[in-house]
Symmetry: C2
Subunit: 219 residues, 2 copies
């Protein structure tokens, strides 16, 4: 990788998609793939694929293409999937439960180490199905400070009602958490070097509605 110029976020946001397609190729037992063949599968230009990948280094070989297993693991490395990030879920409603049970996260090295809520009915119950380990147990949000001080927590997944999101986000940051995954329909402005990734479900749905209305198939 060229150390001087940082890779544009546009390219970064395409990496998970490459990763998915390479996982598929791996599963199919395909050993090598050319940018041309991959471009057909993915519906993008071969040029874009080669440009994107060359932001991080020359993973291919002239006359051969790309080795699937090697490229797959290189992209995993670039994305940091080998880092074993530790995450907590704050808000154990339906969305919190959905995240706790999403199989893809643990597969990709994102480990849910704690789940918090303020509801007396939920505290003490288990959020992960068929899992009665400590990491599955819903804890009292009042104990979050103690938990974060004693355990590595890289990411906070925020699935609390919108009304509380701002306060909870600020609290998480004050505890030293550097990455927030925000599921509330608002933008969070926080001081310091905090990384925020939003999942704005209603935004996505509204775009779907617009495209349905105007029948914009691609996009």
């Amino acid at each position: 990788m060229d150390k001087t110029k940082k890779v544009s976020i546009t390219v970064i946001r395409r990496l998970p998609r490459y990763y998915r397609y390479l996982s598929d190729l791996k599963r199919e037992g395909i050993e090598r793939i050319s940018s041309d063949d991959l471009s057909v599968r993915m519906g993008v230009t071969a040029s874009q694929i080669r440009q994107d990948l060359n932001n991080f280094g020359g993973f291919g070989q002239q006359g051969y293409g790309y080795n699937v297993i090697m490229l797959h693991s290189e992209i995993a490395r670039i994305l940091g999937l080998n880092k074993n990030f530790k995450a907590i879920i704050i808000g154990a409603g339906n969305m919190g439960h959905a995240l706790a049970n999403y199989p893809n996260f643990s597969e990709r090295g994102y480990e849910i180490v704690g789940i918090f809520d303020n509801s007396k009915d939920l505290i003490g119950t288990f959020a992960k199905e068929h899992d009665t380990s400590k990491s599955s147990e819903i804890r009292d949000i009042a104990k979050i400070k103690e938990f974060v001080s004693k355990n590595q927590v890289d990411i906070a997944m925020l699935t609390v009602p919108s009304l509380y999101t701002k306060d909870i986000a600020e609290m998480a940051v004050s505890l030293g958490i550097k990455a927030l995954w925000n599921f509330s329909p608002m933008d969070l402005k926080l001081p310091g070097d905090v990384v925020i990734e939003n999942v704005h479900l209603s935004d996505s749905l509204m775009v779907l509605g617009y495209r349905l209305k105007t029948l914009e198939i691609e996009g």
Copy 2:
């Protein structure tokens, strides 16, 4: 709106965010806003705001700015929020339940009219909290064809396990549904004029991981 040139998807994807900020301004009782003031709030350039809005018509007034209530309702109209789209949820797991109870959708004219699953344990139970109406009852997926033939269904929200997503998506399209909201970590390729909007949670999380690793704050 200029009828000849269609608006780029890049601009469309920014509209829900404008809509959110205008909702905030409305709530705050602010009557008018200049592109300059809005640009400060939103962290974008005033130029971009004016360019974006002028894709759809001149909603502002020189020397005055934009009337908040008027602009809010214009963006709602552009997005089709007055259309009262009817949606069904297929897959009544945690994610399906989360969508069924998400307050923002109904507020914005997206009505959940049916929820389907194949689990005998779930069928007959109610997915929406404090709601025992027919639209809240989880129905047998075997009855979906009959339901769609008798009711208007614009959108199918797909929250089934990945393994079934392709088949379920094809089934939905075969029933005439023209818009799919896909929550599985895969791309759907479907024939015909079908609009698909993906919510790739693990893609989003991987981007968060990358940005945390490299501490890219903006993005």
